[in-house]
């Protein structure tokens, strides 16, 4: 039987196991939206296309499945860019469908036309313009395969209106044939054995974990490796939830706002085992003084990540799950040596313990003014272990990374690479759509919140009970902090002078608004929010000029931390 392009698209999505999509209708996707009424797929109408992509992204980060978003041509498509770039930088699997003007009009500056293939080329893993309805099923199949395999990433399909209307016999391909795309899954065995040898010879090893561990669901194997050799583990922002922060071997986060002990451990290490991390500049600080005494083993599925920023002594290209398994296997063949190593590392663990004691993560508590760190600690205390936390970008994001003890993979959704303000609320929306029963909390700042606050409407409409904690300092706090520290307190355009009544804003959308202005109100407000059905905004009036510390100034070495204001 023949089907139209739009029917084929929706049928392909269903066959890929897609249950929920996020989007916004328009002229060139109107056929798809018409057929959507007859499809079992649930569509969540966001209030902005950027939010639709962030929501699909949040859905993907929380579930591990491919997130799907849809937007119309022209402005609808260009509105998706920040969302796509965010997912691209953090290697999140997405399929984005954009409508396009009819093929005969492409290139004519038609109404609502944009060359979205050209625009998204540098921020997608791959993209397709479908010119013939006969290619559509194959392209959708390939798009999902490319998005979720190898180093995951967003794939965009641009679908002209006439291709949606044209019909053809529908057959969904069983397999994918891409002669130019063959990701490496299992690591080279000889390299793995060399890695085992290097590990056994190390005296000051550090395992440095990035978001790849989450992508390949390898946190269990990571833990096995760490416990086996009793080596300390530090994570990036993206790798944070894949190793429990309360674990005795955990060093927390490294880098610009990392812990003193993580940065000291990396600087003094003799072996750095990089696991699905890419040596981002926010992690390494000054390259010349980054882990100067360490040999580096770099395990990553993407060969382009290896030796991009730092020299690497032993690269292993492959899926972390496979590589870590074979590394653990290689080590367990030498049980005596491994036992000896775990013992030999005792002085190293002691040294790290001393650093931990000397400069633990801490802040100056106050009984009169709300410290943002207190809010983060209280949210942790009052929520379940599997609560999903999203953040926007800025000080609140770093405080969350520093003071929230994550323990479960895929519970910390944050824009690490691109650093997108306005990500957290729609990402929380997507995560809550995936897990209606779990607690989902967007920890936000007053600046970031206003970048996608329109999504309150979506939360209320779909009864998605996301709780939003706004750490309100009436500042664009992170930029203000830089201005304070490096620009002689000249607060250029960082003061949000108009105080917003976030409680009233919540009420205007039909959500609940709560406010805390004193430290002793914090716990009660969080408790009340968690007990209130539906979306809730909690506004915390926090210490206005609180800084995120420790801090490695941009361009400085990891051991040159500013520890106190």
């Amino acid at each position: 039987m023949k089907k139209t392009g739009s029917q084929i698209l929706l049928e392909c999505l269903r066959l890929e196991g897609v249950e929920t999509i996020f989007g916004y209708p328009g002229g060139t996707v109107i056929n798809i939206y018409d057929d959507l009424m007859d499809s079992p797929i649930r569509h969540v109408l966001t209030r902005h296309e950027q939010a639709a992509v962030h929501a699909a992204d949040g859905y993907a980060r929380a579930t591990g499945q491919v997130g799907v978003a849809i937007a119309t041509s022209g402005p609808g498509a260009t509105n998706t860019i920040t969302g796509i770039a965010t997912a691209y930088m953090d290697s999140i699997p997405l399929v984005i469908i954009t409508g396009q003007v009819p093929t005969a009009l492409i290139g004519n500056d038609a109404f609502q036309e944009a060359d979205i293939i050209g625009i998204t080329r540098p921020v997608t893993k791959h993209n397709y313009l479908v010119k013939d309805v006969k290619d559509l099923a194959r392209i959708v199949k390939q798009a999902f395969y490319i998005a979720r395999t190898g180093r995951p990433g967003p794939v965009l399909i641009d679908l002209p209106k006439d291709v949606q209307i044209a019909s053809t016999r529908f057959e969904y391909p069983q397999t994918v044939e891409l002669r130019g795309y063959k990701p490496t899954f299992s690591g080279n065995q000889r390299q793995v054995e060399k890695a085992a040898k290097m590990i056994l010879a190390a005296r000051k090893p550090v395992i440095y974990v990035g978001g790849g561990t989450t992508s390949s669901d390898a946190s269990l194997e990571l833990r096995t490796l760490a416990e086996m050799i009793q080596a300390p583990v530090t994570t990036t922002l993206m790798g944070m939830a894949s190793f429990p922060k309360r674990h005795p071997l955990s060093l927390g986060m490294l880098g610009m706002h990392g812990t003193y002990y993580a940065n000291m451990a990396v600087t003094n290490s003799d072996l750095l085992i990089a696991v699905g991390a890419r040596f981002d500049d926010r992690v390494t600080g000054k390259i010349a003084t980054f882990a100067p005494h360490a040999k580096i083993i770099h395990i990553d599925i993407d060969p382009t990540s290896i030796k991009k920023n730092v020299r690497v002594d032993l690269p292993i290209v492959g899926d972390l799950l496979e590589v870590l398994k074979s590394l653990v296997r290689a080590l367990s063949e030498q049980p005596e040596a491994v036992r000896q190593l775990a013992e030999d590392l005792a002085p190293w663990r002691q040294e790290i313990g001393d650093w931990k004691q000397k400069h633990p993560m801490s802040y100056q508590a106050s009984s009169t003014i709300i410290k943002p760190q207190l809010v983060i600690e209280k949210i942790r205390e009052l929520t379940a272990d599997d609560a999903i936390i999203t953040t926007e970008v800025g000080q609140h994001q770093m405080w969350t990374a520093q003071f929230f003890d994550f323990s479960t993979p895929r519970t910390f959704l944050t824009s690490g690479g691109l650093g997108t303000m306005g990500f957290g609320l729609p990402a929380a929306l997507g995560a809550q759509a995936a897990f209606p029963e779990r607690q989902v909390i967007d920890i936000s700042g007053d600046g970031s919140f206003q970048m996608n606050s329109q999504e309150l409407a979506t939360l209320v409409q779909y009864r998605l009970p996301v709780k939003i904690a706004i750490l309100n300092n009436n500042f664009l706090g992170m930029v203000r902090q830089w201005q304070q520290l490096f620009f002689n307190r000249r607060y250029s355009q960082t003061c949000m002078e108009l105080p917003i009544d976030f409680v009233k804003l919540a009420e205007a959308y039909g959500a609940t608004g709560l406010r805390a202005t004193r430290p002793d109100e914090v716990e009660a407000v969080i408790r009340q929010a968690l007990e209130t059905p539906g979306p809730v905004i909690m506004e915390f009036k926090i210490a206005r000029e609180e800084n995120v510390l420790p801090m490695v100034p941009a361009g400085a070495g990891l051991n040159e931390m500013v520890l106190a204001s």
Binding site: I117, R121, P122, L129, I146, G180, Y181, P303, T304, K307
Partner: protein, 165 residues
Amino acid sequence: MRHTISVLVENEFGVLARVAGLFSGRGFNIESLSVAPTLDPSISRMTIVTSGDDQILEQITKQLNKLIDTIKVIDFTGQNFVEREMAMVKVSAEENTRAEVLRIADIFRAKVVDVTARSYTIEVTGAPDKIDALIELLRPMGIKEIVRSGPVVLGRGPKGWRGAD
């Protein structure tokens, strides 16, 4: 250091933009580029000349390999290969220089492919430095216009790459 890279890609629209974007997005330079289909019409072969240190070249070849449409990448640096470029040079040929232009062309085994009362168009093939030399010799005669194809290369020896296995 100068590198010559062959890239076998899917013969589809947009592939050239992906390759070019990969260079421009990282501030890498393309010195020359030539593209045409191979024996298998679904595959195009690009020959790219670029330069950079080892780390940049490693990134370039890895990034080229990462493109979904890329089937194979060969960096010929340090390998034994034949390199040829074609050029056409339109040079003025006045009364007093006509014979000299022809003599120079002859030495380089170049052909005259178009002739007028006041000009010759000369076609020459060879390694890029041979073409440079010809151009230098013709320059005093007055070069009106020039086009170079950019080099193409093939590895020496009996082995050949015929298509995706």
